[in-house]
């Protein structure tokens, strides 16, 4: 039986072209105890960092120059196997329903609208990470048949 990793051990990757947003998210996460946070302000570097860092959660801005959030998700899609649950939390100021629909179909798992509330962001991150770790646990340590409901 594997022990459940602590949420604060989770590896979190922040992809946002605005340095201010990156600093803010890093400090919010740090203050809440998360120790493994890496970030990029150049979205074209996101995939390389993803390969190297293997995050448990990606915080992704949608509107970025050079490569937008949809482009990043498209590139990540090829790297994430179908049986892996890698949560992508979108941070965007764009509240149009069609953008949300498009992002969800591209692989995003949840949304936070900018300007965001610190508590809300942390709760959403926590929920996504809990789901991620439960998923990992089921993959590594499947429920015995007799115990399955």
């Amino acid at each position: 039986m594997l022990s459940t990793p602590r949420l604060t051990d989770a590896r979190i990757l922040v992809v946002d072209d605005e340095r201010v947003n990156v600093v803010l998210l890093e400090r919010i996460l740090e203050q809440d105890g998360y120790r493994n946070v890496k970030s990029v302000t150049d979205p074209t570097e996101a995939v390389a960092l993803y390969d190297q860092f293997e995050p448990d959660l990606v915080l992704l801005d949608l509107h970025m120059p050079k490569l937008d959030g949809f482009g990043v998700m498209k590139l990540l899609e090829d790297r994430i196997s179908s049986d892996t649950f890698l949560p992508i939390l979108i941070l965007t100021a764009d509240i149009r329903p069609e953008i949300k629909r498009r992002a969800l179909s591209a692989g995003a798992k949840d949304f936070v609208t900018k300007p965001f509330d610190r508590t809300e962001v942390l709760l959403r991150i926590q929920n996504l990470l809990e789901t991620r770790f439960l998923h990992l646990r089921v993959r590594i340590d499947p429920v015995p048949e007799g115990q399955a409901t």
């Binding site: 605005e18 803010l24 149009r96 300007p115």
Partner: protein
Amino acid sequence: MWRRYGDAVYTLLTLAIFGFETIALGGLSVSFLLGAATGIASTPVEGILLGVVISSASALGMLGLYLLSYHFISSMRDRWHGDQIDQWTEWWVGLALAGPEEPVEDGSRRPKLPRVAVDSVLSLLEAVKGEEGDRLKEALAGHGVDRWFLRRARAGHLTSRLDAIEALGKARLPDTLDDLLGLLRHTKPVVRRMAARAAAGILAIMPPEPGPDGPHDRFIEAVKRADLQPGVVQEALLLLETRAGPVLGQLLADPELSDSLRWVVLETTGRLGLADMADALAGAADHPDPELRAATFRALRRLGSVPEGAEAHLLEAVEDEVDFVRVQAAHAAAFLSAETALPALEPRLEDPSWWVRRAAAGSLARLGEIGIATVKRAAQSHPDQAAREMAVQILLEADELTPAAARLATGVA
């Protein structure tokens, strides 16, 4: 990409061209000088030529030096500015997350913030709200930044005014709402536009206050009185975000609302997908203006529901005399029950307008099995060729027909 590499390429290219020119002209100057010294080039014409060559070489040298210095200094300034922004961002984030700033003693004034500090906190306010955002706003107000921007927004050069209004919009300080609403009466359209955007951004974070003199009412009255382009009003209403519902509802309920503003409200409601406002939209379903009827059905289509109060009008609109109303009504009919929509949509397969035929066939295909069966029947045996072709096209798009079967049905080899 261009900002990163384009400047370097431009500098190198300029250096190469100017360097080559300078060396060539320098060589010429030296040879002329030697000629003059040895008495070979001593005519007045050669003297003038020598002067021109020397002055051209000096000018090119100066220009080259200036360009190189310009890029060097710009790069240094950018780096310094970036460092300053980073330092201030860290400071503001610390303030936002750590708790309230030390209170200012009575009578004392906080020092004026440098512009880089203000830019940094304004960017931060675009990212964070709640307690953290409130702390930043308090600090801004404590430093008198709101009053400074308001002064600049009211007077001075147009660029400075717009800059100040944009900053107030980013800062989202509730105390500045009425000043911004006052700017909606400004003579310059661009000032009105920026003020409308900024005011909407502020209203979006303000809690709803019931009563006739609440901020929502003041915003609505100012927008109604202002001379704003429909696109500007729509942009402002979209910026209201989660506060848009009550404002749009209040505007829709106003019987004296102008047609252009009502059209904007209908469009915005649809774009924001405010499904709980479908009933409020129904009131414009039989409006005498076809633009408003079409906008109503377009909005209902975007909301994905047709309220009972609009059903009868929708069925009438499917046969409206104006084709763009019929198009929108046919699209919205997909959200009626199949029994209600089918008899209204089937005859539209032979509508004279291609757009109406397409909307009708598309909506029929969305009604489920009964709708698909109707479209298939039309593809096979409708007496009107245009109706048959449209039905085939829709079935192809819905993967209900193979391309080979489509060729057979339409008689195309």
